[in-house]
Every structure is written in C-alpha cells, then in structure tokens.
Subunit: 411 residues, 2 copies
C-alpha cells in the first residue's frame, strides 16, 4: 500500500516537465520547476506538513513537536539539467517526503520519541545549468555563498535569481530552519551498486573537483575572405583545450581522474564568421587530492601551451576547488546499522558527483545514501532505477531518519 | 558637395544598429534591419525614387523612363553579421543610391539617353547569420531558391522569415522588377587592393565554396560521475573535426584553400553535462575547382576517421557547392573603360567571399567592383575603408551605371 503510494507519487511528479523520451526538463526557476514545487506544496498540505520557503527559494515541509528546537533535515532537489533523467534529485525529495511522513506517523503512534523537529527540504538550483554555481540553495543555507550576491546572479538571458524566483512565486521570506543533522538519498549515477548487486551505497567522502571558467579570445573575421595566416580563430584554440583536457585525463590510470568540458559557447556563432570568442567550463575531478593537484598543474601547462602558440589568448576567468572530505563516521555507522535492521545489503563508497549533502556535511552530521543506477547513465533521459531499488531506498531512508530523530549522531 | 553628401549619408546610416566599437549589428529581419530599411525608404522618397518591396523583402528604389522596360539593377545589402563592420553591404547600397541618383540627374540634364529603367536594390538576408542560407533575397530573385520554402525558414528561436519580415513591416507584395543587367560595389574584405595601391578591383570570377551542415551525436552524461571509458562526448568529436579542418586547409599551399568552422552549437551546454550533440557549419573555399574537390574528399575521410574511432557518430546533414564561375567578360571590359575615363587605377581579381552578384551573374550580365579594405579585416567591428577609397568607388560605380544605362552589355 505504502509502496504503491510512493510509485504513484513518483509517476505523478515525473509528469511535471516531462520530455518525450521519458526524462524531465526542469531547470531551476523555470515554469516547470515552479510546477514541480507547487506539486510538492500540495503534497505537504495534504499530509499535514507545514510549508515554508526561504529567501533563496529552498522549500521546507516541517513536522514540529518541540517548539523552538532545531530540525533533522531530509531532502534533495527537484530542479534538473536540460533534457535530464527523472530520478536525479526528484527521487531523493520524494523518498524524503515518504520517510518524513512515516517517521511522523511513528511518533504519533508512540513508537518513536522525537529529540528534534523534522523537515523535508527541496534545495534551490542544485544543478547549476541555468544559474552558476551549482549547489546554490544549500550553499546559501550553509553560509558558503552570500545571499545578496546569489540573488543577483543572472542566466544567459540576463534574468536574475531573484527575478526567476519571483516569476515562479517562490521568492520566500521565511527563516531558514536551523539543522542538527541532514540525510539525503540519490541515485548513484555510477555502476558500482548495480555491478556488485548491492541495494544501498553509504557515502564516506566526496571526490574533489576543480572547476574552471575559461575564455578564449581570437578575432572575428570572414570565413570566406580571411587567409589562414591572418586568422585568430577562437574556436580552433578552444578545440585544442577540449582535446587537451581529454588527453590529460586519459594519461592517468583508469578511474583516477575525470576531465570534461560541458559548457562551450561560441560567439558570434554565424556560419561565415571566424569565431571571435569561446567561453568554456572545464572540470577535473578525482578522489585523490594529489592526482587533482597534478592535473591542475598539467591543465595550467596546457593553457600556457595554447597561449604560447600565439593564435589566441586564453584567460582563466575563475577557478574553484571543492576538496575531498569525509562524511561523519558516526553517520556511516548509523546507516550501516539501519541497513542491517532493514535487511538490505550495503557498501561504503565515494560520491563522484557533487550533492547538497557535500555542503551540509561541513556544518552538521550528514548521512548520504545511494541506490543503484542502471548502467550508471545520468544527466540523460535514459537514466533509470528499478522500482524495487527505489522502494529499498525509501525503506532505508525511513530507518535512517527515524534513528536520527530518536537521537542518532546530530550536532 | 556631392562627396560631402555621400559621407554624411554614410555616417547617418552607420548609426542605425551601431555598436560601441564602431560597427553595426543588423541581422536580417531584426528591428535594426527594419530601421536601416526605413532610413533607405526615406532617402528614396526625398530623392524621387519609387519604392517597392517584393515578397522576400528585397527593396527597390526605381527611376523609370521607359514604361514596361526592364531595369538595370544596382545594389547590395543592408543586413549585417552580428557585431559586424559598418561597410560590408551598406557601402554598396549607399554607393548605388548615389550612383543611381547621379545617373538619373544626367538623364534629366540630357547628357545620357536611357535604354533601360534603373533601380537601386537592397537584397534581403545576404549574410545568412540569422536565417540560412545566405544570399537569400537574390537567391529567390534569380529562381535558385523557392519563395514559399524560403518564407518558412526559421531562425534559432523558431521565428520564420515571413514572420520576421511582417514584424519589421517589409513583407512586400510588389512584383520583382525584371533585370537586364546588374552592378554591385563592395569592400574587398582582403588585402590585395591595399597592398598593391589600387583604387578599384574588377571581379572576373568567384572562388568556389563547399558548405557542410554537420551533426555530431554522442550521449548526454554526467561530467562528474561518468568514467572516460563510458563516454560518448559529442564535444570531443566535434573538436576533432574543427582541428582536422584547420589541418586539412594548412596542408595546401598558402592561399589555395580556406577551411573554417563558423557556427558550432553545443547541446545541452551545461557545465556538468557531457555534451550529447554538437551542430557545426563547415566551409571549404578555393579558387581552383580541383583543389576544392580534393579538399572535399579529404574532408569526407576526416569524417570517416572520426566515425571510425567509435566514440561519436558524425552525420553530414547537408552539403552545398557554389562553383567558381566567371563574370561576363563584356562587363569586365566596360568596367575597365569606366575606370580609365574616371582616372582610377584598377586590376582584375577574384572574389573569395560570396556576394549577391554571384547569383545575379548567372541570369544577367553583371559587373562586380571592389574598393580597398584596411588589412582585409571583415565581419569585425574594426572593418575600415578610407573616405577617399569610398568616394573613388562611388565615382566608379556612377561611371559603370551610366554606361549600362546607355546600352552597355545587358541581356
């Protein structure tokens, strides 16, 4: 019965911003994100959770027993990448919703005595595709990002975060509920759980990531009238960077380093104009801080080499490092005990991708859980997790939330 | 006095859609293009030329002496590339305006007996940056493009040519005036005239061009969670094509072949998503048909090699060849005689870039003239031609138009 409710809710939520190929397209602050948020508000109302929205658009659905006491927060994000899968983020929010409702019912039935209050959270703009950086809502919540500056960030059309939130009716004024602990469940976005036949992954640390915003400057010219010797082609320079990043990553042992260019914007982008500028976002990731540091040095050498060739000028506009760091060991132990009680197989693992839990763990004890992803496919409409794995995750998260509520490792 | 009028008109026209760096931004069918067109209508009205607009937005300003007789057309285009120079196209239209007015005055004064009627023409969408293909208005005029199909071409926002023309008030219903001959003057967009100290270039033939629309198909994935071995990165594949086109062009003798990628659009273009598709427009150009044929074969081999590597699939969505062909020899001779009368140095040369005259020459005798371009800079706000060179061009075009009107080589 409870299982059927979860799957019906997930099917309903997946219809919001659905794409023809079975995915969703719900970038942060767009009408589709607004519709998913209203769906969540409605769920909160129907199930007696109190809705609040803070100034950066984070949404909370609270069950409160202890006036003035802090909260165990449980959640993820409803926003998506463009033409994305329907599980990334949304599964974690919906699992949180069901886990919180179940814990609330257990309190009502007298089987759990709450030591804290409890709330679902839907973080604003985890994905960062429309507004940069990613992990925006949890970044403001944890004090890593400045609220006022964040509200003025613009998308490529010049719309600010503040305007986008107002447009969808989620420019909130409620306070951020104080946290004592955080739990999140997410699809793995890798193959480890599927390949090893394991139900639950318990995250012990995150991969480190270095992200670079780069501009390649050339000179706009006529493709049909400008001789090669006279060209300063920004696209040629930027293409050299793309291939150099790939080669740099391939030179490490398999699995040691990821190197990617995701955003790549050519200007003026006309068929008969030699491109004058290209902006790129480059990311390098590793579980090993030394490997990442070595890759960073090699990347700087690549930039020097492209600059040295003389055709274009490469500027590194910004560089951010998200270091690798551990999730609290007590949380890992609490999760292992919960899996044991629930009769679910589990293993410790790292998260390669960033999650809001990576921000939260730096301020409160945090438990991060994974369920299997088919073939590790992610940020793709073909992303898939079987129903049985989704339901195992809800069971696991409910055990973890109940244990946190009853006084497990919290601040 | 006449010279001062021309320079004042050119300064006024250059203010329409002006950019901070001294260029213009007037893509076809945009409000800035509409404003430039209204400026031209007003000029026609003030100087007694009769305005008409055909169904693809080509504008004509006519002086008619012989009811029902065909026209010598003289013109170029007011649309521009994004952040372009202010000379490309606009100079040719304004030179035509002044040449036609001068010829009309000569007829009125009795010093020329017209054998035809005479009209300025502003061709729609020569540039092709917003709506593809380029040379659109002259393509429909000469029957190379179908009118109905052309009106349904969309820009990247989904706006059709028909809608864009209606939006700026230039969806015309007037008939296309029949032509007996065509003349056009343009900045060279190369260095030959400047380097040789020559006032006027007389074009004998156009370079051939092969243009390819290509899509690289990969698989959208998570930059932070997808191992290199699992990736099918469309941006990596597309970057290989960009560099292969450059290498292919550099392998020929200097000046034999141009190879370029101008438009390059990445999807979904998010910082943390491995790109799923890239669309590219590639062009190869040569004065020598054999060189271009050899380059075409080499390009197909490059596509096969990228496909053979197995990471991505490259589709050539379309390929068009604009062959090299000669402008009429009688027109070249007429222009040389005109330069001689005007006391201007001239030389025969090829055009590397495409122009509306390349379409027109296939249906009527056509004279194509160049004036010097500073350092050959073009499709760039820094594009420049000295006033003295601009005025020499107006003198030359006036001589040519008068000669055509009096019965020079026409159909």
């Amino acid at each position: 019965m409870v299982e059927r409710d979860f799957l019906a809710d997930f099917a309903a939520l997946s219809r919001v911003g659905a794409t023809p190929k079975g995915g969703v397209h719900r970038e942060a602050g767009t009408p589709a994100d607004g519709a998913a948020r209203r769906w969540l508000c409605s769920w909160f109302e129907r199930h007696g959770l109190h809705t609040s929205v803070d100034a950066v658009g984070n949404m909370y659905g609270a069950a409160e027993w202890l006036p003035g006491a802090p909260f165990v927060l449980v959640g993820s994000h409803l926003d998506s990448q463009p033409t994305a899968g329907r599980f990334d983020g949304a599964y974690g929010v919906l699992a949180a919703v069901h886990a919180v409702a179940a814990a609330r019912d257990a309190v009502a039935a007298g089987s759990v005595t709450p030591r804290h209050n409890l709330a679902v959270v839907n973080w604003f703009n985890e994905e960062g595709s429309r507004f940069s950086p990613s992990l925006m809502g949890s970044g403001v919540y944890t004090g890593k990002l400045d609220l006022a500056a964040t509200l003025t960030v613009t998308d490529r059309a010049g719309v600010t975060v503040a305007e986008a939130l107002a447009d969808i009716g989620f420019a909130g004024t409620d306070p951020m509920p104080p946290a004592v602990g955080y739990a999140e469940i997410h699809i793995e976005q890798g193959r480890i759980l599927q390949d090893s036949g394991t139900a639950i992954g318990i995250v012990t640390a995150n991969w480190a990531a270095s992200k670079y915003a780069v501009t390649v400057h050339g000179a706009q010219a006529h493709t049909g009238a400008t001789h090669l010797a006279d060209r300063r082609d920004a696209l040629v320079g930027a293409s050299r960077l793309v291939l150099a990043v790939r080669e740099l990553a391939e030179a490490f042992e398999p699995g040691q380093l990821l190197g990617s260019v995701g955003q790549f914007t050519v200007s003026p982008n006309s068929p008969v104009v030699v491109p004058g500028t290209v902006t790129l976002s480059i990311d390098l990731r590793s579980a090993d801080a030394e490997v990442l540091a070595k890759a960073h040095e090699q990347f700087l050498a690549v930039v020097d080499a492209v600059n040295g060739a003389g055709e274009v000028e490469v500027d590194i506009d910004s560089m951010t490092l998200r270091p690798s760091s551990a999730f609290q060991a007590e949380g890992v132990a609490l999760a292992e005990a919960a899996a044991d009680r629930a009769g679910l197989s589990c293993r410790r693992m790292l998260t390669m991708a960033g999650h809001d839990s990576v921000n939260l763990k730096d301020v409160v004890p945090t438990v991060m859980l994974f369920v299997p992803s088919n073939a590790g496919i992610s940020h793709n409409e073909a992303e898939h997790t079987d129903d049985a794995d989704l339901l195992n995750g809800v069971t696991m998260l409910t055990e973890v939330v109940t244990a946190l509520l009853a006084g497990g490792p919290t601040r």
